[in-house]
Symmetry: C2
Subunit: 364 residues, 2 copies
């Protein structure tokens, strides 16, 4: 291997295989862990991962395994590429192998992923001096149509990464930017956490599309699902997110404004904007209600935003309505199992102590 | 005229014209009031109302007028056949003409219509000893395709009527049953108010059908709008209504059970039941969100049910979610202008005092 940073990738899905293949091709020693024997065996049988698309080649990870400890132990950068609802379980499973100086990166972290990961390690009495980082989205647009094959359609040209504690962000960026120079640092994990657009764009429209989801109609999520009233509601919801960021001193743009910056889409309303966004033209609507749009984006998106609102004294009435309606409709208590202040180990913490914790990783 | 009870009908829409025509044909002296000059002039020009369907004939009201006082003054039974959101205004307008011994009937009353009507008269310092009654639905399935023409497709064979105070119910029934023997008395106005199925069957499905309402699709409200998840949610919502009735000592059946009794429809779920109900087969879904399904059924249906829950100590979390989501989506504060305890003049009243008020009409 031509480079020294040892990478462990936890999760052999679309993102995980793309990362493992790409980083291997860059010359890094890479270990890939997946829970499924079939995935691991298939990759080992062919000796690596075939990568196509904007990156082409045959990447050969050093190790592809179902043994989490073998993958994680001693790795410099551990990339966790898994559904956000699995982060807590993965933290518990990693705890025995964690060592000082490592960096764990939730890629992406949804909202408050790093806080949850760190708290879960603490609960496991796992206290080495390490960095837990999170990104605000996945760096690729990619697919892994089968084990051992990753198709990278595009690589994002910006990605926010923030670290808990924020004081370690420079160190983490130093490691990661060698491979991905387009990563930029966030002020603290609130920047990536509140940059979670899925929490805004998924649960509310999904609820308000319930009948269409369970109907005989085929439909397009953005073009048809964000009707004028739904778009207007989502814009109000998004204001709560921007207000919340403001309370943390973070100057965030609205999602509609972001569509302008990222896609060049100009429109008077969100409903218009998504219709004009070519990247959204072919995204289909789901055909069942129990999808990640609710099951993940409520407990690891809206719930922690609402809870951060409580901590910071920012009202989030629309977020509450959506999260509670989703809980009721699916008969799932997202406030019992979601990323609440209590479940994040932050119950009773004051605003100033919390801001200091984000910076230093030390609870007052 | 062959009969002595003088009827005034307030409202010349579908139900009002059908009632005015039908009661005239029965031989009662009838006065019909409508706000629109065109409606009144058209009926006067042809000298009455042509009634067709299950009732046939040409009904000749004594008076058809835009003068509310002329219609209402001295009438024995004043039938108010108007959207529930207009009840308060109508009460204010009637106040100068009210006299002891009259009966005002909200037909139908939605939820807490009689309480609101009585309270509005009180606010106008209008305190004659009168009865305010309400029905749980309209007695006809009918249409008035143009002024002076009423088509009565069917006449319901049961209708609950309850009176504020309940002590006057026998008297009111005596007057009304002469014309409509199928009317049965409710224990008190909670029986008609909590029998308001529109509050359950309209707002929640409408919200969850938002995208379909604003879509390019034509759709059927019951057959397609009550999908499995929506039906399951509505059944839970309906349990809150039944629980609330229980707190008033009223043994109400669920809406699904009522479909079995009224339409002979047997099904394991509400979603199945509405699909099997032939009466619902052709009911179309709306094409805009701002309809009576939200604008009327939230402030005069869900809101007063939620408020009655507070008074009686019964939780109504799903009703609250729907009412608040509707408020938020339409940017209308249904809790400010709806039938709350405060707006009904019941703020601070205890459960026992309220039960006594329902019975006697006297506030402790």
């Amino acid at each position: 291997m031509s480079r020294e940073t040892v990478w462990a990738i936890v999760g052999g899905g679309n993102g995980g295989q793309s990362l493992a293949g790409h980083l291997s091709l860059m010359g890094y020693p890479v270990r890939l862990y997946d829970i499924f024997t079939e995935t691991v065996d298939a990759i080992n049988a062919q000796g690596g991962i075939e990568v196509s698309g904007v990156v082409e080649g045959f990447g050969k990870p050093e190790l592809v395994t179902t043994d989490l400890g073998a993958a994680v132990k001693g790795a410099d950068a551990v990339m966790i590429v898994a559904p956000a609802v699995a982060h807590k379980t993965i933290a518990k499973q990693c705890a025995p192998y964690v060592s000082a100086g490592q960096t764990y990166i939730l890629h992406p972290g949804a909202t408050c992923g790093a806080l949850e990961f760190r708290h879960t390690l603490d609960e496991c009495n796992c206290t080495p001096d390490l960095a837990v980082a999170e990104t605000n989205s996945l760096i690729y647009a990619c697919r892994a149509p089968k084990p051992g094959h990753a198709v990278i359609h595009g690589i994002k040209d910006d990605l926010v990464l923030s670290t808990l504690p924020a004081a370690k962000n420079e160190h983490v960026l130093g490691v990661l930017q060698e491979a991905f120079p387009q990563i930029v640092g966030g002020a603290n994990v609130m920047q990536s956490s509140l940059g979670n657009a899925n929490a805004i764009m998924h649960p509310a429209p999904t609820l308000l599309n319930t009948s269409l989801i369970e109907s005989r109609h085929d439909w397009y999520y953005y073009r048809e699902g964000i009707t004028p009233s739904i778009g207007a509601f989502v814009e109000e919801l998004d204001k709560e997110r921007v207000n919340l960021a403001q309370a943390f001193g973070l100057d965030m743009i609205t999602i509609r404004e972001w569509y302008r910056v990222a896609y060049g889409v100009e429109a008077e309303t969100l409903s218009e904007a998504v219709k004009k966004n070519p990247a959204y033209a072919e995204i289909r609507g789901q055909k069942e209600l129990r999808t990640r749009y609710l099951l993940e984006d409520i407990p690891t998106g809206l719930v922690p935003m609402i809870e951060m609102g409580k901590l910071m004294g920012v009202d989030t009435p629309r977020m509450e309505l959506v999260a509670r309606f989703g809980s009721s409709l699916l008969e799932e208590d997202f406030f019992a199992k979601g990323r609440t202040l209590k479940n994040l180990g932050l119950a009773g913490m004051g605003k100033d102590d919390f801001l200091q914790y984000l910076q230093t990783g030390v609870k007052a």
